[in-house]
Symmetry: C2
Subunit: 501 residues, 2 copies
Amino acid sequence: MPPIASSRHILQPCLKPLFISFTHFTKSSLSPRKFPIPRRFFVLNPRKFSCSANAQSAVDNGGGGRSGAMSSPSVLESVEKIDVNPPKGTRDFPPEDMRLRNWLFHHFKEVSRLYGFEEVDFPVLESEALYIRKAGEEIRDQLYCFEDRGNRRVALRPELTPSLARLVMQKGKSVPLPLKWFAVGQCWRYERMTRGRRREHYQWNMDIIGVPEVTAEAEIISSIVTFFKRIGITSSDVGFKVSSRKVLQELLRRYPIPEDLFSKVCIIIDKIEKIPIDDIKKELKSTGIPEEAVEELLELLSIKSLTKLEEKLGGSVEAISDLKQLFLLAENFGYSDWIQFDASVVRGLAYYTGIVFEGFDREGKLRAICGGGRYDKLLSTFGGDDVPACGFGFGDAVIVELLKEKGLLPELSLQVENIVCALDRDLQGAAATVATVLREKGQTVDLILESKPLKWVFKRAARVNAQRLILVGNTEWQKGMVGVKILSSGEQFEIKLDELE
Amino acid sequence: MPPIASSRHILQPCLKPLFISFTHFTKSSLSPRKFPIPRRFFVLNPRKFSCSANAQSAVDNGGGGRSGAMSSPSVLESVEKIDVNPPKGTRDFPPEDMRLRNWLFHHFKEVSRLYGFEEVDFPVLESEALYIRKAGEEIRDQLYCFEDRGNRRVALRPELTPSLARLVMQKGKSVPLPLKWFAVGQCWRYERMTRGRRREHYQWNMDIIGVPEVTAEAEIISSIVTFFKRIGITSSDVGFKVSSRKVLQELLRRYPIPEDLFSKVCIIIDKIEKIPIDDIKKELKSTGIPEEAVEELLELLSIKSLTKLEEKLGGSVEAISDLKQLFLLAENFGYSDWIQFDASVVRGLAYYTGIVFEGFDREGKLRAICGGGRYDKLLSTFGGDDVPACGFGFGDAVIVELLKEKGLLPELSLQVENIVCALDRDLQGAAATVATVLREKGQTVDLILESKPLKWVFKRAARVNAQRLILVGNTEWQKGMVGVKILSSGEQFEIKLDELE
């Protein structure tokens, strides 16, 4: 290849400040000052200006780069700059953020694997009907729903459990119970953007389908504790508040309250820390619950000890025996110091029927970190036959806030084993061969694709945390050898390519 | 815990055939015949029928299970069964499909890592404006777009490249070039459901931003070849057709054709194998291209050798030197036998400007497996400053078809190291302790959460491919020991819990 192509190097500084649109450039503005020239290799490509059709696009281009195709807008045509940010409430994941997401998901998945759970996933786009429940949940008002081109009502999933229930129904008898499934998926809620909340987040779910006993709840809480421990969070940072919806059920049963009011009541109670208590009372009364029941209910919710709950409800109720069993199992699993009874926990989803729990930061600065519980009746709300089930959802947002608070965010950087670089343009092919040999041995290689000064290569090596620099020079290559520099020690040597490990 | 809870076991067979809705059951239908009773542990829970509020829900439930909360629909109320299938054109990923997806993605990611690429991601939901190009692409007509609650026009992303370009513009000068980024993300197209095509697929993308030289194209094709080799695909199964849009550009330049027609022409030509040649001609003519140009164009497209192309266009054109360099580099990378020149390849996206390529199965049974090329002008169509760039998209659908064809689909099964099982209800807590100890040592454990006959446990062990069965029995546990059975050999022994590795 003649030196013509070397002029392409000046393209690198072309990623100019965003506010200078290319439309500001004309031929006359194309000066070396504006496009700093690397010390080496600068030869103006004569072809750029030899072909009339191409000359214009070379200017569009800032004077560097390949002469492009005709699809580029002409210099005289003004193109309105797009919004470079992702849509409101959504995120890009540039490499540094992606590394953190991968680190988090890796732990979600490793813990699930330790517990013998199998990974599943469902469509991000689901039928809207899956989320239309009558209990007045916040989640329904926040549905990201629309009509598709086939006039179907669809929604971006706000949570994973309804899809899981759908899949369990679909599988029917073909899968032996119990199922232990986990998923890590993106969920969407159209929330007002106050409080810095986003409209999408990823959620880790673990669910046990087909086990009616409290051992299932104990197992899934254990897995969350294992996750916390792995990422450095202790029981002095985080705890679980645990209760059972059967506590409320037991109380409401003593009043003449229609059955179908139960989940509505739970949803109202879940807002207890978000809106004034008088509004909670008003809402409860408006459902038709007698005033004395409202008062007794609110009193009950303040109970923070199982003994007191037992005094209030009597020892023989199922709510009490479930909770006692759970606390006993927590001892066996070894996480007693993480959990506490708190009658105020009911969770904001309509379908829970038994034990409910949420993870909270002990400093009380953040929203719930995770939450879950038993939902034995979800399938019948979809017209299916019920199966006992429990599970949890664990978002990727609050945990990152907590890790920041505690100084526990991991330092994650790009790690590349080798940088391979040709010392001469003509050796770029040889460098490609070297890269191929190393990659076939499982070594990661950042291959330098242009002729660059060595100083530039060292800078890049530092940025990608390369361990070795492999230099392909003419004299060595003729002997089938390459130069190796260990970047941590500065040690240098020559080695035969086939001996390079 | 009293034996009451044992009745919960009969819940397991409750996942009945899907077509029998629970509404068909009444109290009188609740017979042991209908709900087969396990040989052991069947004791009817007296509480189920002692509390009036609960009796009804116990019947809903098929007679088993925990007495639920009041949220369950009454037996008399008919609940219409939801559609248990995912929305048209979308997929669930039950465990067996998820294992395949994970296997595929693992190789996508490992290859990208070998090549020193960093992972990125973007929102699934993007601004519609990102995809509105004027070239008449199929992709535009297939946008999954809608108006969100804030009256913004948004779309489920049909491809990843525009988001990548947006992020590159956003990062501006803060990132040193070149960038080597990869992503594996879900993309959506609202296609007619003929030909068994789905409306969503996952796509692996690798992109190099900031390198104007053909080494970049050579490197990304090399990474795809590496991927194929890792999963068992050879150059006799798959090849790459390679051309350059500059070939067409060179030809069209010889006629008085306006520049902005170029990408439109490419889009029409891309349909050459899908619609009759006369329709292609008609479409080309309707853009205003002279008839002789259309004929020359179609003749040019039939060229399958670089030598013939050179005869036609002359040797000094950039298209030829680019392609020659690419074929030279392919030798150095060691994948010459995978690639061939084919002038008919133009790809269906408007933004390509130089080298274009697509992976195809040599038996010609399938659609393109992957495709990519250089797109040096994409950023200016967004009002930004251009940066040289190239990349590819590789879907998760066609490759799986090919693996099936070739008998190369991997056998992937759930693998669990240990099944831990209490021999006695009272020892469930002890079993939880054993599971915790093993998990802390990094061992995967499927903990049996209910009292089950040993036969059932062995069946489950086989299903999850467990290596060991750890039995927690009373006599051993009192000595701090557990029973271990190696399932492959049948070997059995007792061991102290703290010596269990």
